[in-house]
Symmetry: C2
Subunit: 494 residues, 2 copies
């Protein structure tokens, strides 16, 4: 075990640890980590099949179908597979090693990985900087080793990485946690628990992910590295991060990285610990430098980071950006509903988010009224929101929308669908989406996310219109697009 | 058709229409309306089986199993049942008449109902005050007739009433809208669309309702009448209302009614049109006097009305109060989690709502640590929120909670459950709920509302602990209890 003096390295701050060349190397190593061909799991148990190492081994080997070597000093077999006594003894083709052993043994194993030229390592083990002074010293030691051997390391104190159908080191029973399909949202999180819940929720809402990474103490690779990495990945349309705080100097590097990447794709961040009470709680969790809430929010805005205020906004923004929506030229929204109450609630929500529902000109109101079924022209209201009433049918909705989207003082459309209205059929989604395609405007819809409305929702979504599960979510979706559009305008990228 | 002069009555405001004696009569009539034995539906079609009248007829007759007379001037049969040509011609035992015919014919039919001594009438038909001056005049006319004959009238321009397994006049295809089970939440709404969505959502979350009433233009019976009515109904634990505005003088009557009823049970209100844009939208919908948003909110607070700010709060407050929760003596919450990130997010949410997570005393932290499984004592954190970490198991959670609930500086407990942790079993809900029963403290839990966690959720909820579907919802639940508790304290009812 390569014990080296740690006194000097403890005086260096984390950002000093890597220079630009090394940082570039780290990025390259992530590519292997998220798409490895051969893996090793250090810390399988021959007696306890439910130890984290064994759960990870079974996932990599049997679920992901990767060639995987289990490692335990005692040797033997696990699930019928030969156990190697050490990394050194194992074959030479390992690309990713996952380490799940007591903290004090990690530096030695990492040295072995380095000598074996393994490029990517995930340290699952806890017992590092989150536990106090001696843990901090141990953490500095493993970072030194990783840098010395050009190892890209994620962790320690994390659950690692998950890419659908490719690699999964999350040591959680599969029957307890749903996994989403492959898609274009990349997620990075300082909290494993938070990340796991997002997987569950994304699966439930059918939002696909490109990768999910739990960075734990982020001793070497940090959230900024992942922003850069996913920024260059053309499969990724939106980057989502849960952050509790930054190491010294890391905050600035993060926003600068974001400012660059946000010109190409939106970055959504939920910042834990923005309140004073929340900040105190981060101290028991990740011991991050959370910073002043208002200052952090202002920096996010300035550098193009879209801040989500809660889990609902996280879902709204992630989902809408996964559709690669058209930016909005302004914040003027035309709203079309079949229930007056829904229009009122949407108006309140839009006002909260600073979106505008401009009144329609008299002649435009008449033009829209004229295409409505004559029997209902008298009871429908064509202000903004437009209320076609519960008597409206698909064709009314289509025709009025077509007129509304043509108005030059409308930047986007908000469609509130109440599938309970007898005249609204399950075809409405596809029908309306095809009308929307004729216009170059941003359109989002609200349809409750229920199995029985799946035909409507798929009609919309397969035709490029994202559906919010609540009126508020649909409004938040528009708000996300508007925030990103404003940044693009400001930096001249629109 | 009893045409009477309307000039004089148009000069009277709506609140003048009923004196106290008449108002008492209206209340009595609601009892019949929500539990009728014999009903009539005026406006069934012999040619269109999907007309609103026919849908209502089939529901009352076949779903609710009520003796129901279909009425149409042409006679004939509908669904094999004899159609009477008028209310006058129908048998004398009608308790509730539902009218779904063009507006201009409503006064005549209402006169017939009056002469027949029918005590409760729902006017589904639109075409009254929401359409302008002549509609307003027609509306005054039907109110006069109703008052003259002591008829309790709901509507016009509404979808009527729904009581599970008893009465259902909502003319919506049953396959499109789920209906919740019978329970103790009473809902009153100025928007039929909003109400229908709540039914859907309440069914989805398994929150039972005592009654749902769409009051439409509330020409005679108003939201205040229903607050009084449900206030006296011991089956109702919480009253939920969606209100866009009040007629002249009605706002004051409403808050005064609430102030009285809120001493017995909480009243939750979502006020549509609180923003300026939302207020404008109410003008096309219900033409209500919405009032200044801030003034309305202040009045609600003063008179004990719990204002929900959005649909999420509506669900959180309705659900938590349906459990008849213990009031909170203060706003000091102890929080117990197995994920640090969840603790951070809960802290931020609680700070937003003004709830406090007081730090635990050093000796109390040690007492809680000492009951934890020894191997994990070192990694768990016993500040507030307590983070037992993903290594904790059921017994740790139970023992620590037992200590925490005994602390005299904790008014309530917030349990954040992450059922993904391998040591947490599906028994956790019932186990923890039984620990909570030993203490006289308010307890709410957070468990994602998914089928696979049903055993956990039922374990909690059948033992009296409500589960929020998100961390935010669980925090909102505590906030609702605290708001109500503060009112009770203020009026000396706690």
């Amino acid at each position: 075990m390569g014990q080296t003096s740690t006194a000097a390295r403890q005086r260096r701050s984390r950002t000093d640890i890597l220079n630009t060349r090394e940082r570039g190397h780290v990025i390259a190593g992530l590519k292997t980590m998220l798409n490895p061909k051969v893996t090793a799991v250090v810390g399988v148990s021959t007696s306890n099949p439910f130890s984290p190492g064994n759960v990870i081994f079974r996932k990599l080997c049997f679920e992901n179908g990767l060639k995987t070597y289990p490692i335990n000093p005692k040797g033997g077999t696990v699930e019928g597979v030969k156990v190697y006594k050490s990394i050194t003894e194992a074959p030479d083709d390992i690309e990713l090693a996952v380490i799940s052993i007591p903290a004090r043994f990690v530096p030695g194993v990492l040295e072995e990985c380095g000598r074996k030229k393994i490029r990517s390592v995930i340290v699952v083990s806890g017992g590092f900087s989150e536990t106090g002074e001696s843990g901090r010293s141990l953490q500095h030691e493993i970072v030194e080793i990783a840098n010395q051997y050009n190892i890209t390391m994620v962790g320690p104190n994390c659950i690692g990485v998950f890419v659908p159908d490719r690699v999964d080191t999350f040591f959680l029973p599969s029957e307890r946690v749903a996994r989403p399909r492959y898609g274009n949202v990349a997620i990075v999180s300082q909290s494993g628990g938070w990340l796991v819940e997002r997987l569950e929720e994304f699966a439930d809402r059918d939002v696909g992910i490109a990768a999910a990474v739990s960075i734990g103490n982020s001793a070497q690779t940090t959230v900024s590295d992942f922003v850069r990495f996913f920024g260059e990945d053309d499969n990724v349309r939106v980057i989502l991060a849960y952050i509790e705080g930054f190491g010294p100097g890391e905050g600035r590097r993060f926003v600068e990285e974001c400012a660059r990447v946000a010109r190409k794709k939106p970055i959504v961040v939920l910042k834990g610990g923005q309140s004073e009470a929340g900040h105190r709680a981060t101290q028991s969790h990740t011991s991050s430098l959370a910073g002043n809430g208002a200052v952090v929010s202002a920096a996010f805005r300035q550098f193009g980071v879209i801040e989500a205020m809660d889990e609902d906004e996280v879902m709204a923004y992630s989902k809408v950006f996964s559709f690669g929506p058209r930016p909005m030229k302004g914040k003027r929204v035309g709203t079309l509903t079949v229930s007056g109450g829904h229009g009122v609630i949407a108006s309140d929500e839009a006002a909260y988010y600073g979106l505008e529902f401009p009144p329609f000109k008299e002649e435009d109101q008449e033009a829209m009224r004229s295409v409505m079924t004559p029997a209902y022209q008298g009871i429908a209201s064509f202000r903004n929101p437009i209320d076609l009433t519960g008597s409206a049918s698909d064709i009314d909705y289509e025709r009025v929308l077509d007129k509304m989207l043509a108005l030059d003082y409308i930047d986007a459309a908000l469609l509130l669908l109440l599938p309970y209205a007898p005249g609204i059929s399950l075809q409405i989604g596809a029908r309306v989406a095809n009308v929307a395609k004729r216009h170059k405007k941003t359109v989002v819809a609200y349809v409750p996310y229920l199995d029985k409305y799946e035909v409507i929702i798929r009609g919309f979504e397969l035709n490029g219109i994202p559906c919010g599960d609540t009126i508020e979510e649909a409004v938040q979706m528009l708000n996300g697009i508007r925030k990103w559009s404003e940044y693009l305008q400001r930096v001249g990228a629109l």
